[in-house]
């Protein structure tokens, strides 16, 4: 090969290099704190504070991890987190899919009004509804219960909106074919629409799981103790009991909190591939 390059080729190579540089920068910004949390959780207490910074834990220790368990009722928090996240995910995915289906495919009076309402509720920040929600839930006697934590968080505006838009992007002909084939609404959803929607549905599920797993403000207001509080509240508790100087166990708790989500993400992300409508329609 000769070394001569067309100018276009050189500039495309340059821009590619620029792209990678940008990518690298973003990865550093995201990954560095995570790496820092991980190594610090494996360090001995004095090593966390030494300057210059040590990039590898030396000596390596898992003491912080055992300290997590002894400091707070970690397994209780974990159980609560799982209960809250699982319930909310199931509720939100089911409600989101059903409402999106209705908004995308069923003709009923006031449909666009409902949609407008859903989109409108997306624009109201949570913080605004917290106070009125709190008053209502307290009045119902739901404080410090799972019901009190879960019910107010079970709204699904985002999921409805996401799934509806996806449903509308499906080939119209296939939906009509199913209509002609006498498929009822549930069968249409289950056998025709959802099989073409897994990637979007999985993305929606994943976002919901991450979101609910990380819920902090509302459970903090609702829960009084480890009987219903989820992990993020527990972590804050851990920080309190350890005092402001002992970061090791807190960071170890953080790692343990992230781990389940990371595993779920890794398990689900390979299903988020496109191309499920291949061969369905042509032209």
């Amino acid at each position: 090969m000769t070394a001569v390059q067309a100018p276009a080729e050189r500039s495309s190579r340059l821009s590619r290099a620029g792209g990678y540089a940008g990518l690298l920068l973003v990865v550093l910004v995201v990954a560095l704190p995570l790496y820092w949390i991980l190594i610090s959780s494996l360090k001995e207490r004095p090593d966390i504070y030494t300057v210059p910074v040590g990039w590898f834990p030396d000596p390596l220790t898992v003491d912080n991890y055992s300290a997590v368990g002894s400091g707070v009722a970690f397994t209780d928090y974990l159980r609560n987190s799982i209960i809250i996240t699982a319930s909310l995910t199931v509720i939100q995915v089911v409600l989101g899919v059903l409402s999106a289906y209705a908004l995308a495919f069923l003709r009923f009076p006031g449909r666009s009004l409902v949609l407008l309402f859903v989109i409108g509720s997306l624009m109201v920040p949570n913080q605004i509804t917290v106070i009125s929600n709190y008053a209502l839930v307290a009045q119902l006697g739901w404080r410090n219960t799972f019901t009190g934590i879960i019910v107010p968080l079970a709204g699904v505006a985002f999921g409805t909106f996401l799934m509806r838009n996806h449903f509308l992007s499906l080939p119209r002909e296939i939906i009509e074919a199913a209509e002609m084939d006498a498929a009822g609404p549930l069968r249409m959803l289950w056998r025709v629409v959802l099989p073409m929607s897994w990637p979007t549905l999985i993305a929606f599920t994943l976002i919901t799981i991450v979101n609910e797993w990380n819920q902090y403000l509302w459970p903090l207001l609702m829960a009084d103790d480890a009987s219903v509080a989820p992990l993020p509240v527990g972590l804050a508790q851990l920080q309190d009991t350890q005092g402001l100087t002992n970061w090791g166990p807190v960071l170890a708790g953080t790692v343990l909190t992230m781990l389940p989500i990371l595993l779920i993400f890794l398990a689900l992300q390979r299903h988020m591939i496109k191309g499920l409508t291949a061969g369905a329609v042509k032209g």
Partner: protein
């Protein structure tokens, strides 16, 4: 099996001031193969979808077997549709695609198996029943889509340009297969296409639409030989008919040129000028005799050979003053053995009995 009737069926889309289909009156006999043709956007699909129940009817009625189905859901009409893009369910195998409707209708498993097997045999899909659509070729998908319609044994088949995604060769063979299949099943069929060849070769009768309005219904031969207006004349036949406008009428004859005079039918008595249509295949090269008012001289501008046929694009000479032709030339089909070449001057013989006469508005004079 059933007869289908459109009674003033109209569809006006929201935010549209003009109906996409305007007061369509159309009767389709039991077991008939009716082809709907017309240029793009003329309302063919909309008409078909009104029959299938996929498009609401703004005014008028649609009847199947004498029953007014205008307000019925698609599933209650017992109509099967073959879509242009096939619309197969991507997550189901070919067999499941075909069985889906039967399952929804609560047909027993044994019955479903028998009917799918039978349809697969007819369409030669037996080996492919376990494949998903993504692993089928275009022609195979088309057959699965057909299979999905025929397993239901519906009253009416609706087909919306089912061949337009196939390559030219496959289209010709599939065309014949569909027509034969329909004859064999005897199911009333409404078939939409923009391809006039498909219309002519497949249909028992053909209906021509233009801008949402019905132009003519008739057998392919009727449409070809006796089009009601210049639009139908121009749409049916390939290459298109040659139209000569503003031909003056003298002594009951349209005088295209001194040597070409076409007798007007009685209905054309009072007309001062007419439009004359001459099909490319309604013309021969003349012998040396003087002819009987059926001669036209022309210069060859270009010669197009398709192998089997020869078309000469010619410029007519000696036209009567004021006569104009649409397009920059006339097209004539000539004997390919004649050795016609560019620049040549020809004397053509026009078959007077095949020439068509239209009034200045374009309506046929008969």
């Amino acid at each position: 099996m059933a007869a289908v009737t459109f009674e003033g069926a109209t569809r006006t889309f929201p935010q549209s001031d003009r109906p996409a289909v305007d007061a369509l009156d159309l009767g389709i006999g039991d077991g008939e193969f009716m082809v709907v043709v017309g240029p793009s956007g003329c309302g063919k699909s909309t008409s078909l979808r009104m029959l299938a129940g996929l498009e609401p009817v703004s005014s008028g009625r649609v009847l199947i077997d004498g029953v007014d189905v205008t307000g019925h859901r698609p599933r209650d009409r017992d109509v099967a549709m073959v879509f242009q893009g096939y619309a197969l369910y991507p997550s189901m195998t070919a067999g499941e695609n075909m069985a889906f409707a039967l399952r929804n209708l609560g047909v027993g498993a044994d019955e479903i198996r028998t009917r799918v097997a039978e349809a697969a045999r007819i369409l030669q899909l037996e080996e492919l029943l376990d494949r998903k659509p993504a692993k089928l070729s275009g022609g195979q998908r088309q057959r699965v889509a057909m299979g999905r319609a025929i397993v239901r044994d519906p009253k009416v088949f609706c087909m919306d340009e089912p061949l337009s995604n196939l390559d030219a060769k496959l289209r010709v063979s599939t065309r014949a297969e569909i027509a034969a299949l329909q004859k064999r099943l005897g199911t009333t069929t409404v078939y939409v296409t923009h391809d006039q060849t498909e219309a002519m070769t497949m249909g028992d009768r053909v209906v021509v639409l233009r801008d949402g309005r019905l132009q003519q219904i008739g057998t392919p031969a009727e449409l070809y030989e006796r089009p009601v207006n210049t639009f139908v004349a121009g749409f049916i036949g390939s290459p298109s008919i040659n139209l000569l406008d503003r031909v003056p009428v003298r002594d009951g004859r349209a005088v295209v040129a001194g040597s070409l005079r076409i007798a007007l039918p009685a209905a054309g008595a009072g007309l001062a000028s007419v439009t004359v249509g001459v099909r490319p295949e309604g013309v021969d090269v003349a012998g040396s005799d003087p002819g009987a008012g059926d001669r036209l001289t022309a210069r060859v501008l270009r010669v197009e050979r398709t192998g089997a046929e020869l078309f000469a694009l010619v410029e007519p000479l000696g036209l009567t003053d004021g006569v104009g032709h649409r397009g920059d030339h006339l097209v004539v089909r000539l004997d390919k053995r004649l050795g016609v070449h560019e620049g040549m001057e020809l004397t053509l013989r026009v078959h007077l009995d095949e020439a068509l006469v239209f009034d200045p508005e374009g309506i046929a004079v008969r």
